[in-house]
């Protein structure tokens, strides 16, 4: 069988009807990884046997007629910054190269309860800081559509794994676009839920007020299925909201009557690749043809998003990453003169360049004399950004925009210009600052054959509406069914 021609729903149906066993499915995924991952580099590590054992166990229970969870038998790949009891969680950093958490993240518990098969750990930019997987301490993930290009980041491994047919589902985390941007670059569907919708317990923190875990799949249904499992209140995360989780996948195929789509002029500015603009505008036309009302909205503070983000996120990161000091877990330098030197040597050697740069930036922004000018100022503009959205969502149900200014860039292209790299997140960052849900879905290809993403954003906790709106578009188009041509000698 081939994963690439089957949707999540197909696979679930086949597993349920007995046409397909989980063992077969997992074996297919593992074979696919064996065949292609040397080239793609999506996975940092995975354990074959435990995955197969878990699959066999689920098959056994299914045959015995037992009750099974919502994702029973489906493989899910996990970004390597989410803790699972007894499984190495490296954050693609030397600092945590050998770190084995003694506990499960909330979403790992949820996936286990849903009888998903935990397939392996996907690559990321170190501590999720980056937009290209170039900051991984261990390997470069390549874009399955063009291996000279990055898969995006930081959840590039999870996006590439789905795009390359190595897993039907994967998990990422999104702090400034780290799910949506790689989804767009790799031509898959990726979603960042509302802040507080999915528990962060067990997600290694980058910027706590922005981080959110979310799903990847080949289509909106797959993402909805996975989100149903991930979402929900967790009393171990104070920022997790106690609110009913709708059955997102249930009404997906019912089009929304009177859907109002917002277009912000601030999203179509200098720097936007014309082919991306063209694809997004065509997508909006599709909605128009479906009877949606298209309205202009204004988000006047959009242009400050990147500046706000590059104060808030590094500030929080500088604090969150202070704990990696060589005392209680993780890497410790071998040579040092004394206690303080041990700290500095450990952190100097254990972190990569980008992480150190952001720690420095955040430390500076929080330090005496600069706090008000940088950090406090950023928090105030952050509120203005949120207020822009509050006003806009009085007028419209979803806002449509590009995900990224350009299709996937080349490996090495932006690595020496951090600011240019940061600006690639210009369309995704605002959802994190404002706490909104956002989804990225395929809406076309560039002349070079690279996927282009459409971003839809909605008001907080409007995931159900957001996903239905996304599905309306997906039903009318076939972008999401296209797959990268993998080497012909591949298995499957």
């Amino acid at each position: 069988m081939s994963l690439s021609t089957h949707t999540t729903q197909d696979l679930l149906d086949q597993l349920q009807s007995g046409q397909l066993t989980s063992t077969e499915l997992v074996t297919t995924c593992l074979d696919r990884i064996d065949a292609h991952d040397e080239r793609i580099g999506a996975f940092l590590h995975f354990e074959r046997e435990p995955a197969l054992q878990q699959a066999a166990e689920i098959d056994r229970r299914r045959q015995a007629g037992g009750t099974l969870g919502a994702l029973a038998g489906l493989p899910v790949a996990i970004k390597d910054n989410i803790c699972a009891n007894g499984t190495r969680t490296t954050c693609a950093s030397r600092m945590l190269e050998n770190f084995v958490p003694p506990y499960d993240a909330h979403i790992i518990e949820r996936l286990r309860q849903a009888d998903a098969v935990l397939l392996g750990r996907t690559n990321l930019d170190e501590f999720a800081m980056g937009s290209s997987c170039e900051n991984s301490a261990f390997q470069q993930t390549r874009n399955p559509w063009d291996t000279e290009r990055t898969p995006g980041g930081s959840s590039g491994g999870s996006a590439a794994a789905v795009a390359a047919g190595m897993t039907p589902l994967s998990i990422g985390s999104d702090t400034g676009g780290s799910i949506r941007q790689p989804a767009a670059f790799c031509g898959v569907v990726g979603m960042k839920p509302t802040y507080g919708r999915v528990s962060r317990y067990g997600l290694v923190a980058f910027a706590s007020s922005l981080d959110q875990i979310g799903p990847f799949a080949n289509d909106v249904t797959g993402v909805s299925r996975l989100l149903e499992v991930l979402a929900g209140h967790d009393e171990r995360d104070s920022t997790s909201i106690d609110r009913r989780v709708p059955a997102y996948s249930q009404n997906l195929d019912q089009p929304l009557d009177g859907l109002r789509i917002g277009i912000a002029k601030e999203h179509f500015v200098e720097g936007l690749h014309p082919e991306v603009e063209q694809a997004v505008r065509s997508a909006v036309d599709v909605y128009r043809s479906l009877g949606a009302e298209i309205k202009e909205v204004t988000l006047p503070h959009s242009k400050y998003c990147v500046a706000v983000y590059y104060i808030v996120a590094p500030s929080e990161a500088s604090s969150n990453l202070a704990r990696y000091d060589g005392v209680h877990y993780g890497f410790r330098a071998e040579k040092f003169d004394n206690m303080i030197d041990m700290y500095s040597a450990t952190r100097g050697e254990g972190f990569g360049d980008e992480v150190k740069r952001r720690i420095m930036l955040g430390t500076y922004a929080l330090s005496a004399g600069y706090y008000d000018a940088y950090y406090l100022k950023a928090l105030k503009v952050r509120r203005l950004i949120r207020q822009d959205f509050d006003r806009a969502f009085e007028e419209v149900d979803v806002i449509a925009s590009p995900v990224t200014p350009t299709p996937a860039f080349k490996i090495g292209e932006l690595i020496d210009d951090p600011l240019a790299m940061y600006l690639t997140d210009i369309y995704t960052i605002s959802a994190n600052l404002a706490g909104l849900p956002g989804v990225s879905l395929p809406c076309g290809f560039s002349s070079e054959g690279l996927p282009i993403g459409l971003q839809l954003q909605a008001a907080p906790f409007e995931e159900e509406r957001l996903l239905r709106a996304a599905r309306m578009y997906e039903r009318e188009t076939d972008w999401h069914t296209r797959r990268p041509a993998m080497n012909s000698n591949s298995a499957s």
Binding site: F99, V100, P102, Y195, G196, S209, L210, S238, T239, I241, H301, K303, Y304, A307, V308, Y310, I311, S318, G326, V327, H328, Y329, G330, F331, R332, F336, N338, M339, I340, D341, M342, S344, R347, G348, E349, F351, K356, R357, I359, M360, L361, T363, Y364, L376, K377, A378, L379, K380, V381, R382, R383, L384, R386, P418, L419, Y422, N432, A434, G435, P460
Partner: protein, 98 residues
Amino acid sequence: MSELTVDDVKKVASLARLKLSGDDIARYQKKLENVLSYVHLLDEVDTSDVEPMAHAIEAVNVFRQDEPRDSLDQAQALANAPQTDGKYFLVPAILDEA
């Protein structure tokens, strides 16, 4: 506009406990200054009557009940530590106490 000096970079590196080589400091100085001058874009926004927004959601009063949960056992607590004696985490001598 910010003028980030090499001394500033050294001071921040020391606050953040990051040992940097001379080359690193020079490179970081340049890149950090780039970002900082970009960030000054915010100066043009009037925020005089704006409350800072530290959280993405506006929840308050999130508490847990005072009920014990299982702790990890000693071996689990120490399992990831670079150096222990089986009971304690070990660190190089802390010198600042007379």
